[in-house]
């Protein structure tokens, strides 16, 4: 059976240890050198970056997340042993693991390291589709001749170089489509390398729960539960028509995934679909003045990102989370796309008026979606709001000042609320 040593990258026929370097980290699979779709997922990325930058954290439980009220954004594997998970409220994480060192995330740093990882992936193939800072799909079809090695070897080299040159580890999933590659990368974390071949696909999936499918959240899980679908085996008993009738477009996808089929291509240019920012408050609040300040700051952040990307949005969304963690989302289509903080703020403010009574709130977010090029944005004035044009000019003037003297050089009074 084709085999590969993950330490020295030597390839050979089946053996328990690498015949060249005697390493036990041997990967064997009948289709090992034929599969080309991969998913790379960094192991506890934010925590790994922190540990790399601060050797004192080595071997200690580290949790990345914000403030007393925040949630765990990443926990290192030491903390995970104690049961700490992503998205867990911080107080709960600290109950499970009181000795954990909580580090506030440094997004700028993670972006920087993510770029280094990306550069290594770009050397493997031009078709890299990042899902977030720490994971990406890669399509290595047709690269074997270029590199002189099959994809499996190049991927093993990739994680080896990530460890040696950047100082972080990652796990690889290798298969024949995106769905299975993503499933595979999660099978053997951390420092994993898992392969799901074509021949074994059905046997592999059949006993597994459908929540394996990326994108099946608690809500979809519920509706599947009600239909008596828990495992892929359950799913296989459904006709395509019945699934479509019951679940709409998702039904179609489920039918194919149940058979290990996923026709989505790895796309290097998957467009950004929306921009949003949110904040969790230090204390729950229903105070309209304080919330107004948050709406403005979030609108300003979203606007700044839209301007940086030369994008504008046609829909404004306001997201609120009540003290009891119940979410609340309101959206409003605009007459024309906008990238102006003023328009985003005013629209979100209008949406907030309709929800103000639902407080107190613990979280507030503002976003724009249905993105279009900035050239289409804010081209028409409003007859009934003749000052809008002047406010837009003022905002552009403020942007120029910020460009020159920094983001804190000038603020609206509203931002201080």
């Amino acid at each position: 059976m084709p085999s590969l040593c993950r330490d020295c990258l030597h390839d050979f026929e089946t053996a328990a240890r690498c015949p060249q370097c005697r390493s036990p980290r041997v990967l064997s699979h009948p289709e090992l050198f034929d599969l080309t779709i991969a998913h790379m997922d960094c192991d506890a990325f934010y925590a790994s970056v922190e540990k790399r930058d601060n050797p004192e954290l080595e071997g200690k439980p580290v949790i990345i997340g914000g403030g007393r009220r925040g949630v765990v954004s990443t926990a290192c594997y030491v903390a995970r042993i104690k049961g700490v998970k992503s998205a867990m409220p911080m107080f709960k994480a600290l109950q499970l693991c009181p000795e954990a060192i909580v580090v506030r995330g440094r997004m700028d740093r993670y972006v920087e390291v993510s770029k280094q990882v990306r550069a290594l992936m770009d050397e493997l193939t031009p078709v890299v589709e990042p899902l977030s800072l720490d994971e990406a799909f890669m399509d290595l079809t047709g690269t074997a001749r270029l590199h002189g090695h099959p994809p499996a070897v190049m991927l093993a080299r990739l994680v080896k170089r990530m460890k040696e040159e950047i100082g972080i580890t990652g796990s690889i999933g290798l298969s024949h489509n995106k769905f299975l590659a993503k499933v595979a990368s999660d099978l053997d974390k951390p420092r994993g390398f898992s392969v799901i071949g074509k021949a074994e696909t059905m046997d592999f999936l059949r006993p597994r729960p459908v929540r394996l499918i990326w994108g099946i959240g608690p809500a979809a899980q519920d509706s599947l539960d009600r239909a008596g679908i828990r495992s892929f085996d359950d799913l296989l008993r459904w006709d395509l028509r019945d699934l479509q009738d019951r679940f709409g477009a998702m039904g179609d996808r489920l039918w194919h995934l149940a058979r290990g089929q996923d026709a989505r291509r790895v796309s290097a240019h998957s467009p950004v679909k929306s921009l949003s920012n949110e904040t969790t408050f230090a204390e729950d609040t229903a105070d309209p003045d304080i919330l107004d300040g948050h709406i403005w700051r979030m609108a300003e952040k979203v606007s700044a990102r839209a301007k940086a990307k030369d994008k504008a949005g046609r829909v404004v969304t306001l997201k609120l989370k009540r003290a009891n963690h119940k979410g609340l989302t309101r959206r409003q289509s605009l007459h024309q796309p906008t990238q102006l903080a003023d328009t985003i703020y005013r629209t979100a403010r209008g949406l907030f008026e309709g929800a103000v009574g639902e407080g107190p709130f613990r979280l507030l977010g503002v976003g724009i979606s249905e993105l279009t090029p900035a050239a289409d944005a804010d081209r028409e004035g409003d007859l009934l709001d003749p000052d809008a044009g002047r406010r837009a000019e003022a905002e552009r003037a403020v942007d120029r000042i910020k460009d020159r003297f920094g983001a804190d050089a000038i603020l609206k009074g509203r931002a201080l609320r």
């Binding site: 409003q332 209008g350 279009t372 007859l383 044009g389």
Partner: protein, 372 residues
């Protein structure tokens, strides 16, 4: 209740009723039409709680009475019956069924008790006047395109009907705007309309009203209160709540100082705008107007899809001007012109532009330019 009625008469009444009924209903009775037979007439009443329409139709009433059935289903049945058929509707109140018979067709529909049907409370109308159908038709037809669909500015979701002062004295005026274009249409003040409270007539009511206005010889009885408006012909009574809000002060939106005047054949202009707009992207259909001495160049430049240009002869004597508009808005206002040339009055490329028909100031349109 039992009566016989001619299919065409029945269809007209039922069609009107089912168009008022909301498609997505959570209250079952609101999907129904209330049918009341009395004397030699049958009344068909439908409501969505904001609008109520009552249609009176002549019939051979055998047994007086009242019941309610699904407006949509009844309409579908009557629509499919052969023209000229005599339809007999009879209620079996014990079984809770209404049977519909026409020739050899037989239908039986479930009914809901007439007592459950919400009848709109009557209002104290402070103003009552009569207006010829063509006058109301013009007021609403020429203004309704500018009604806003934006829910946040709900007070723009209708036509503001009120009495106003114009050059020649008091007028009955309809105004609609969505913040991007505005229409202001005037008519001679009908006798008895003076002192009428200004009301915002909702978009849906404007649509339903239109069905009453097709007959040129018809006179419409209009009644207005602070909260309701009623339009009535001898057979149909349309009552509607008005939008509870304040219509913005539109007078400051209408430019007074626009002096750069362009006169153009409206039909030619509309066709040219339509042609050049073909190449522009779906969402931002911006057309640029470049004006020079007696010459207008319309152009569209869409970097992704292409470019178009067309020249038109116009009457223009002011200095050069370039101004952009949403093509859809230009087409809409140009299509309101039906007798004379369209007269555009510009100020600058950033200011609202005014359009009217010849020198007629009883129909004025304002449109906001677009950055191009």
């Amino acid at each position: 209740m039992k009566f016989s009625i001619e299919r065409g008469v029945l269809l007209k009444a039922v069609a009107q009723a089912q168009s008022v009924v909301e498609r997505r209903n959570t209250i079952p009775i609101l999907a129904n039409v209330l049918i009341e037979a009395d004397g030699s007439d049958v009344y068909f009443r439908a409501t969505d709680l904001d609008i109520e329409v009552v249609d009176k139709a002549p019939a051979q009433v055998e047994r007086a009475g009242a019941t309610t059935v699904s407006a949509v289903t009844l309409n579908e049945i009557v629509r499919k019956l052969p023209d000229g058929a005599l339809v007999t509707l009879s209620e079996d109140s014990a079984a809770g069924r209404l049977s519909i018979e026409a020739g050899r067709s037989n239908f039986s529909l479930a009914t809901l008790p007439k007592e459950d049907f919400p009848v709109m409370a009557s209002s104290d109308y402070s103003t009552n006047f009569a207006a010829p159908a063509p006058v109301l038709r013009r007021l609403f037809d020429k203004s309704k395109f500018a009604i806003s669909t934006e829910e946040t500015r709900y007070y723009l979701n209708g036509v503001y009907m009120h009495v106003s002062e114009a050059d020649g004295g008091k007028v009955l005026r309809c105004v609609a705007t969505d913040g991007h274009r505005l229409a202001r249409i005037d008519a001679d003040l009908p006798e008895g309309a003076d002192g009428m409270p200004g009301v915002i007539v909702p978009r849906k009511t404007v649509g339903e009203l239109r069905k009453l206005l097709d007959d040129d010889d018809m006179t419409i009885a209009v009644s207005v209160s602070e909260t309701k408006v009623r339009f009535a012909t001898p057979d149909i009574t349309l009552t509607s709540k008005v939008i509870d809000g304040t219509f913005p002060d539109y007078t400051r939106v209408i430019p007074q100082g626009n002096t750069r005047k362009m006169e153009v054949d409206a039909a030619e202009f509309a066709k040219a705008v339509d042609r050049v707009a073909t190449v522009s992207s779906e969402r931002s259909r911006a057309v640029k107007l470049a004006l020079d001495e007696d010459k207008l160049v319309l152009s569209v430049n869409a970097p992704d899809s292409g470019a178009a240009e067309e020249e038109l002869a116009v009457a223009y004597g002011d200095e050069r001007l370039e101004i952009g508009f949403n093509a859809k808005y230009l087409l809409e206002i140009a299509s309101q012109v039906d007798r004379e040339n369209a007269v555009f009055l510009f100020n600058s490329s950033g200011d609202p532009t005014l359009m009217r028909e010849g020198n007629d100031t009883t129909a004025v349109y304002v449109v906001m330019p677009m950055r191009v």
